[in-house]
Symmetry: D2
Subunit: 342 residues, 4 copies
Amino acid sequence: MARIGIVGGTGYTGVELMRLLANHGQAQLEVITSRSRAGTPVAEVFPNLRGRVDLEFSEPSIEAYKRCDLVFFATPNGTAMHQVEELLEAGIKVIDLAADFRLKDLRVWSQWYGQEHASPFSVERAVYGLPEMNREQILDAQLVANPGCYVTAVTLALLPLLKHELIRPDSIIADCKSGVSGAGRGANVSTSLCEASESVKAYAVKGHRHYPEIRQNLRQVNDAADLVFVPHLMPMIRGIHATVYCEALADEPRIQQALELFYAEEPFVDVMPPGSHPETRSVKGANDCRIAVHRLPDSNRVVLLSVIDNLVKGAAGQAVQNMNLMLGMDETEGLSGIGLMP
Amino acid sequence: MARIGIVGGTGYTGVELMRLLANHGQAQLEVITSRSRAGTPVAEVFPNLRGRVDLEFSEPSIEAYKRCDLVFFATPNGTAMHQVEELLEAGIKVIDLAADFRLKDLRVWSQWYGQEHASPFSVERAVYGLPEMNREQILDAQLVANPGCYVTAVTLALLPLLKHELIRPDSIIADCKSGVSGAGRGANVSTSLCEASESVKAYAVKGHRHYPEIRQNLRQVNDAADLVFVPHLMPMIRGIHATVYCEALADEPRIQQALELFYAEEPFVDVMPPGSHPETRSVKGANDCRIAVHRLPDSNRVVLLSVIDNLVKGAAGQAVQNMNLMLGMDETEGLSGIGLMP
Amino acid sequence: MARIGIVGGTGYTGVELMRLLANHGQAQLEVITSRSRAGTPVAEVFPNLRGRVDLEFSEPSIEAYKRCDLVFFATPNGTAMHQVEELLEAGIKVIDLAADFRLKDLRVWSQWYGQEHASPFSVERAVYGLPEMNREQILDAQLVANPGCYVTAVTLALLPLLKHELIRPDSIIADCKSGVSGAGRGANVSTSLCEASESVKAYAVKGHRHYPEIRQNLRQVNDAADLVFVPHLMPMIRGIHATVYCEALADEPRIQQALELFYAEEPFVDVMPPGSHPETRSVKGANDCRIAVHRLPDSNRVVLLSVIDNLVKGAAGQAVQNMNLMLGMDETEGLSGIGLMP
Amino acid sequence: MARIGIVGGTGYTGVELMRLLANHGQAQLEVITSRSRAGTPVAEVFPNLRGRVDLEFSEPSIEAYKRCDLVFFATPNGTAMHQVEELLEAGIKVIDLAADFRLKDLRVWSQWYGQEHASPFSVERAVYGLPEMNREQILDAQLVANPGCYVTAVTLALLPLLKHELIRPDSIIADCKSGVSGAGRGANVSTSLCEASESVKAYAVKGHRHYPEIRQNLRQVNDAADLVFVPHLMPMIRGIHATVYCEALADEPRIQQALELFYAEEPFVDVMPPGSHPETRSVKGANDCRIAVHRLPDSNRVVLLSVIDNLVKGAAGQAVQNMNLMLGMDETEGLSGIGLMP
């Protein structure tokens, strides 16, 4: 059994990691830290884990992390970059679920995250943890930057089309809809049930941190790629629905085929039949991404629909998938959960 | 036009008072204060009021309140009691939407609200503002204590039955369900959409502040009255559903008739036909209370179902109803809104 | 008091018309018909109307409609076209909330609605009832085609920009999100709470009936206009959020100004300050449309955000606004309701 | 691998059975039938199962069921009783998730289900499938009647207290709150999102079919037991919260201890610490029942709080638990899923 640590486990990615690890056959949670809740049993904060996770939150401790084979950082942006070097030097593998190691261009990172980067060296070593894009590198990685939630949904929809030049790379518009859990577990009037239910709004229209991350991914495939990205808040807990518009350079069957071939062997990407409209609830609690494509009649536009659970394939599930790869386990171990419908 | 002030207007009772007053033909909001948001336009905090309320929040100011005919306190418990005496002396009428003047027994008040009362004199002068119980006194009141939300739903269901001795007064169990807006507009993890939607829980089972208030009301009618009261949090914004169980001393037609007669002239209490199951959504946004009664077959139990919108008949709407009475206006002015269905 | 009839009142536009008319000072509901519920009191089907609407549903009857000054058709598509001629001949004014008279090109209508049109003559006479576009003609109209819900939100956002040539007319993408009430009140597994809550999906990506209607509106202003339109189902009852992407031919201040000037005198269109993100809940239950505009940095794209309540400004509220114009009343009469927040 | 059949798999218990069986290590779904959807791939109706369940719905066929080791009836009430005898004779084990074999008194059954029973012989043979009550008999059963959802939540809360005579057996009031999925997957206006969200209502106050079933359970333990039972519809998909009031014959520590001891070895019943308020979301998707107990101060009343997921411990999960027992497997196999929080 691999020994696992979680740094900063009181948020939604923390509890979701614990939910997945509790049913993982080859990994054992050894330590979970939280400055604010040290000494409190995990199951008191997250009663769904009663009887399944017996640990208490403990004080952050590099020494404790060093007794692990792999450590997840489920901390705010700008935290892992201060601690990761010591762990890497000690031979510990690390997956950061925040954004510290996602952007390779440090100037872009500083611009969007409002601070200097504390560990450029780690950024260089980090592998971007989207298995469908970088599986080989993840297998050998010591440090993985787990992708953003919107980023995962949009990138998976576009990768095959950009690679095969089936769309105009600078014509992309990604209109994305997210459940409220994407905003994290902080106390916040704007995410209270009274403010966020029975309503829809766009936010950060002028610029969201996932924009440069999506662009970086797309440019790995086609350096002319660019996009418009607008996120919206939906009145629900989990789920991301990306609706991606682009100008097509091929007909619908060709695009459908490209998607199907690209993902034929992927365990967690499901290309739906022509004419489908994926629902976010079909992946609620599951590590799946479902994609459908429509070429519009009498138009050169193609519309891609891509859904994930932002806390699973968009965060903790993808992190476990990366862990499985990094530790030489079956990639799907612990990730067999099926979407909860209804 | 009567000149109206609101003290502490950034919460849900504040915005609801403004929504109702904006369509009131004989009252004009003159001042609304908020220490934390002074200088901010009201419509920036509450965009539903754009174009309808042009005021800014201003600093709390007794002088400003004194230019009003009537002032609503939409402040936390323990606030109005420190300011009300000066206003009363100046001849201003006051309605407190918090709990400062609801309980006549100051020892009980201190026990439940954890502090000494700052103005026993005002408590004595205050009229409990449930028009269906105390209309005559409200007409002449200078200070009105606006009832609690749960209290309104439960009291209205029980008043006629206790008065006519149709139930055993010590057999009452009130199982109450409330939308999340009852918890107010503070930033709070437990009322976030992610925590409070798709779930139901009881809270404060061992004791809730509305318990002594309901008991006081019931004992006005029958001094042997007592009850068990358990509140529950529902995954919705607005609405209270009280399910009240008691031992019947009469048959269903007699109880139905007592309710219908008691409320025959009341503009805001609707006794539904036998066999009805009122839905909270039928009063969403409206000042109505709907009540149905069922005597169970082969049993001595009667079940009362009572629904209100906690922010309207349970708070701001009832406060406007009290204002109308205190200022000699038509009791229903500004309160003609109909429940939003769907 | 004008005498009003409603044909087919058991759906959501029917109940919403009744809610609005019950607080209208110059109109009185005389007759409401429903084949399926004839003989049932309205308030039994819609308990929010208890004590406010005393009518029963009656059998459809041209004679009854003829006793009215104005008749609303709240019927399915393809119904009003069979009955309207007789009413128009009798001098009755008519507003159809369905789609029978919205499209001027009958071939297009037949293509999207799957049948021959029964009254081309009425289509010619009909005025398209978007007051912000056609107020003068509505004032004199005898037959008004009330616009579709998505159509209203998208058209209002684009009208000023197309008129002043501030965007490329063929670059428009409208990604629209709607609450479930837009699907009507029929029994349907796909709109059940268990299927439609906690989920988001696109639908009708290949083609939705509101597409030709939006296109017709936009081409009134610029005959090169065309768009991509994709509707999505949101897990909420009411509200439409249109996110409209287009290529800008002007800078943000110019576009903002054009919107503000265009709607400066409009009672129900609110152009929000630069940087705003309107929320659908700010118009819940109200006849308002709120619009914000963002020009993206380092891009030629402009993003318009437009929100309405699909049942009010998107249906019954706009119909009452049209009625007010047709009957020479104050355009805002009965429409002073404020969005319910929270 | 045991071969499993499901009769009538297009409802919510059907899809939930498939979700659980797909991750069961010792059981394999062989056949799933549906008259209305025969020939349709299961994953087309339930896209969460894409890639996990490759079967099509087939026509109902006794022959097909006979090739199974165990057959679940996920059919409406009154269906299994016509088919079960032939299966039992063929040596097939059967679990009925409907109510055909739950009530031992056939007169009571006929009274509540409105028909004569077609197989009194099977009722006699059937074991009531609440493992915490009847584990030994279930181990040897050929036919199991899977309990009702409300019944499970209420019975588990009360069993230890009745057994140890810690409450007055005729003083019980069970106020129960259920998510909408309890009403099944039929097309129905009253369970549409627009009608059932943002609202709470009681229903069937005068009598619900789970009442005689709860009473039968309680009388197994104390033949003086009786209760008042009122169900309520909550605006959420899954979850039951039972709030049970009774007169205590012991103090809180004694009652707490009785619960803890009674369930000490139970894998799926979690007695929470004193002072707890269980949330339904803590068991969403899981086979757990969480129970808390409060003795009210200055009162002889005790309040029990009991939560389950109505589709898991209240239906399909409990059915799999029974299957595991009947087939000699580990009772917890396939049931390790953890509540989805958030």
